[in-house]
Symmetry: C2
Subunit: 243 residues, 2 copies
């Protein structure tokens, strides 16, 4: 049996990792991940063999992990947030099939931005919700549009990941325009920047205001459902208790 | 300023809590929560003032928390999973408005069953997904049906919370029948029982098989999207990398 773990490290700081995740990284001989995440690990893991590949070489990074583990090294792949939410868990299991190692991959969950961002904003996801990424690198934009329309149709609260990038600076605006086809412009919304890192900032606003806001790639956006409201500087989606 | 934190404790065991959550409970004078969760805390916090109210008295429990904090005691409200996903975060902020304390409530996120259950199953939520609770205690069943239809329409992966209870033994079956209106009976699915506690069990199956399965209230159910597949005993929703 190989020792191979895919570890969700949460938003970044150690205190937002689970004890299970920290223990896995303590035990690992090799830690593999995107360079920025390796840097977030800091001093505590500086004695390990730390390996990376450039961005967009996720397949190569996962193969590197499987090869290292096959050679007998305890190998951990780190992902920001949760390993299984836009993380490397699925690709690792898919590739492990080639190596006959699917049953040897252990997934260790982490706090995803839907949870950590919601905590900063208040409680925007405290009822049924959707998580949608606006990145069309791996997903056709038409499917993203379809999901935005379905989320609005179902009156879900929504967490939006990857709302922007250098090449996709107007995607949040496009997404808001799709929601505005059926959702009121005064729908309660909010967004959080730099979750769990230095300089965390949060803002509450209406959907109409969000449409005209520029956010960067370090931002997670939250759209309330029809019952959500802004209380002070918090965004709250009620669970339904009569108070 | 009062000291008042709403803490997500994850599925149960300490090792699945974040360091931030454990530190908050270590610092608290008073810990309030549903009795079962207080018991899960164990020895480490037995020196604290531990308070509870019976089930369904969530409003009273939150008021108790706000009163204790107002009286100057460092008070933590615990929730299973994430504080802001079907947890007490929203109700606490709503009630805190009456006390002029909305800006004093700190929410500490935890690992929700969507993440912890997904990790056991493999990677069922590794693309856009919805979280839907089948509990109609606080939500009209018609709205739950509408959301299930919207989730299927949007080809989301789905995590289903509260799939069953003594009074709602056929709700998962009803939910599957709604999905089966548009989704293929061989859609890849799975479920996990007793996540993060002793006797964790997971099963993969088709949607047709899931429809005829009885699950209990300690189970979280996962429905794949149209690209999901079963690999060995894991349920995997690909992110879209070409391999």
């Amino acid at each position: 049996m190989s020792w191979i773990k895919v570890v969700g490290m949460g938003p970044g700081e150690h205190e937002m990792m689970t004890e299970q995740a920290l223990a896995a990284l303590d035990e690992a001989d090799v830690i593999i991940g995107y360079t920025v995440y390796l840097e977030l690990l800091g001093e505590r893991f500086s004695g390990k063999e730390l390996l990376s590949t450039p961005m967009k070489q996720e397949v190569e990074r996962c193969r590197m992990c499987l090869e290292k583990a096959s050679s007998g090294r305890k190998t951990a792949m780190i992902c920001s947030g949760d390993a299984g939410i836009y993380g490397m868990a699925s690709l690792m299991i898919e590739l492990a099939e080639e190596y006959g190692m699917t049953d040897q991959i252990e997934i260790i969950p982490g706090i995803t931005a839907a949870s950590s961002g919601a905590a900063v904003l208040g409680a925007p996801l405290n009822h049924d919700f959707c998580v949608i990424s606006l990145s069309d690198l791996l997903t056709p934009w038409e499917l993203i549009e379809k999901r935005l329309r379905a989320a609005a149709e179902g009156d879900f609260a929504i967490a939006i990941y990857n709302p922007s990038s250098r090449k996709r600076h107007d995607y949040l605006q496009k997404a808001c325009d799709i929601l505005l086809e059926t959702v009121s412009p005064d729908r309660a919304c909010g967004y959080v920047r730099n979750i769990g890192r230095e300089g965390t900032e949060h803002t509450v606003c209406s959907l109409a205001e969000l449409r005209d806001t520029s956010v960067d790639m370090f931002t997670t956006v939250f759209i309330g459902n029809s019952k959500s409201r802004i209380i002070g500087d918090r965004l709250v989606t009620p669970r339904g208790y009569i108070i």
